[in-house]
């Protein structure tokens, strides 16, 4: 019988190192300032006063990939932009996650033509897809919460 089962969940007393690390990582996932198109404007509204991403510790948009640990691909990724997106993803330090915000980033959306990469998962691995064109701020926050649940479930050796 594990300690938690015997004593019940005493919060920080019976927490595991893994949960503590994951809790710290979800507490302040700093997004990369990476707005491409219309979803970036909706992303700015989410950062604004009414929907306020600061509640999730995410109000600090890091412009350089070195200091960011969450890349929100907000907008349509074109053929000319694809190497830049891959370059930025490579230059981010582990642990890093990706949210494909909007239909254009998730599956090419309205633009099924020569110029747009049909879904950003063709160039970088994506953790959460947020539907919508552009997704409402509530949809994006729902996507972020889904990502937090995913992070809470991760093991230490995934990133070690």
């Amino acid at each position: 019988m594990g300690v938690t089962q015997k004593l019940g969940d005493l919060g920080v007393v019976t927490t595991t190192l893994e949960t503590a690390i994951n809790w710290a990582r979800t507490g302040a996932t700093w997004p990369l300032l990476f707005g491409l198109a219309c979803c970036a404007i909706e992303y700015m509204s989410t950062q604004g006063g009414r929907y306020d991403l600061a509640r999730f510790g995410m109000e600090l948009n890091r412009a350089s990939p070195r200091q960011a640990d969450l890349m929100i691909v907000a907008g349509r990724v074109t053929r000319k932009m694809a190497p830049v997106v891959r370059n930025l993803y490579d230059q981010m330090a582990n642990p890093k996650w990706v949210i494909a915000m909007g239909d254009c980033a998730s599956c090419g959306g309205v633009y099924n033509n020569y110029a747009v990469v049909q879904g950003v998962d063709e160039i970088i691995p994506v953790d959460v897809y947020v539907a919508g064109c552009p997704p409402r701020p509530e949809q994006l926050i729902h996507g972020i919460l889904t990502l937090h649940e995913k992070i809470m479930g991760e093991r230490i050796k995934d990133w070690a």
């Binding site: 300032l33 198109a37 509204s45 000319k80 747009v116």
Partner: protein, 420 residues
């Protein structure tokens, strides 16, 4: 080979050649005296994915080469494979800060091509939507322009007001930004009863908000130092390089399409066009702030004209506009028109038209060429951001990088608008 040695040899011997930019930059760059820096697609202050290849002597810009196309989504090619009614939703995503002015440009081009009439009530509704879009677009411009130059709080205030306008758009079109509310022949459906009181409530409260922004910025010495005398462009140079809108009026050229070639009944509204004298960043800022106040005047006059405007919210020429649902129950022609319009759409002659209207950024022109069938042969949008980005090198000669940030903010560019 450990990490830092990889960094060392990468920095010293740099493999690659300068010949592709040889004829564009001065020879000082080729000898290595000046530095070539990418103010690239991923940069906090380029308002989107614009890449500026800068040749720098220390902080000073020698040459600035804009490189666009990072957001070219082939919207015009996609619209060639869609019928006219379906093409309206594509235009929303072009200039994503002013979706309704793209819709209006495209729909007015269709109406001109097929000779479709727009009832007076629909024109007044369009004017209200366009002016609300102009306010919303200027708020995003002011927010991002101020945050680029360090005024964080203005960004939050502007987006607080913008949320109110987005609620109004959501009430009439169901979508906050990409409403596709303006359709060929008029608008999608009538205003809900709650819309007009809400707009009046917004208009009563908004002038006080603009005074707050002016209080924060207009007489702020920091703001004046960063914007006055920066990015000056003379009127004739601006005209020759195709500037339009507040960027052109900032240099003192009195050209506003709503006044010069009135459309949608703009000749009935009294409003004045703000002009700048020096054509620097500060004058363009003042023009747009003043323009926001003018929009309030226009919307108030439009709201007064709305009740007695004749006609419905959309033209009832059933060849082009689908009949309302209620009519389908009891009239055979309505079912036939409904079926034809929603399966194949209407057809337009094999001719070309060009319609230019005043979008918040400048003159947006829609060149539409029909094929005789139900799909356009060619849709080409002449967009203001395209010309303003072409003009950035003119304004940024021997300025500093920090001034370039102010210049980019002042010409209010949107990359979706530029690359289409």
């Amino acid at each position: 080979m450990t990490a830092n040695s990889a960094l060392e040899n990468q920095a010293t011997e740099w493999v690659g050649s300068l010949d592709d930019v040889k004829n564009l930059v001065t020879e000082r760059a080729l000898t290595g005296e000046t530095m070539l820096l990418n103010m690239g697609p991923h940069h906090p202050s380029t308002h989107g994915v614009l890449r500026l290849l800068l040749e720098l002597d220390g902080e000073e810009i020698i040459t600035c080469l804009p490189d666009i196309g990072f957001l070219h989504t082939g919207i015009e090619k996609t619209m060639e494979s869609k019928s006219y009614e379906k093409g309206v939703t594509c235009t929303d995503r072009m200039d994503y800060l002013a979706p309704m002015s793209n819709n209006a440009a495209f729909c007015m081009a269709i109406e001109k091509l097929v000779g479709l009439d727009v009832p007076e009530r629909a024109q007044v509704m369009r004017v209200i939507c366009l002016e609300l879009t102009r306010i919303q677009s200027h708020l995003v411009w002011l927010g991002t322009h101020a945050i680029d130059l360090g005024a964080m709080s203005v960004f939050l205030y502007c987006f607080r007001e913008r949320e109110k306008i987005l609620d109004l758009f959501e009430m009439i079109s169901g979508q906050r930004m990409m409403g596709s509310y303006i359709r060929p022949g008029g608008v999608w459906r009538d205003f809900p009863a709650q819309f007009v009181p809400d707009v009046e409530a917004f208009l009563d409260d908004f002038p006080r908000r603009i005074d707050d922004y002016e209080l924060l910025l207009t007489t702020n010495p920091l703001w004046l130092d960063r914007t006055q005398g920066i990015g000056v462009i003379e009127p004739d140079v601006a005209l020759a390089w195709g500037f339009s809108g507040p960027s052109l009026r900032g240099s003192g050229v009195n050209w506003d399409i709503r006044k010069a070639t009135p459309y949608l009944g703009y000749e009935n509204y009294q409003f004045d066009v703000p002009l700048g004298e020096h054509g620097d960043v500060y004058d363009r800022y003042l023009c747009r702030i003043h323009e926001m106040r003018e929009c309030i005047k226009i919307i108030r006059q439009a709201l007064k004209r709305l009740p007695e405007a004749k006609g419905g919210f959309r033209s009832d020429n059933r060849k082009f506009t689908p009949p309302p649902r209620a009519e389908l129950g009891h009239s055979m022609e309505a079912v036939i028109h409904h079926f034809k319009l929603w399966t194949e759409g209407f057809s337009a002659p094999n001719q070309e038209v060009y319609v230019a209207i005043e979008s918040p950024r400048g003159e947006i022109g829609c060149y539409l060429h029909g094929t005789g069938g139900n799909k356009p042969r060619r849709v080409h949008f002449k967009t203001p951001s395209f010309m303003h980005i072409q003009g950035i090198p003119l304004m940024s000669e021997n300025h500093m990088i920090a001034d370039l940030v102010a210049i980019i903010g002042s010409v209010d560019i949107v990359l979706g608008d530029c690359d289409r």
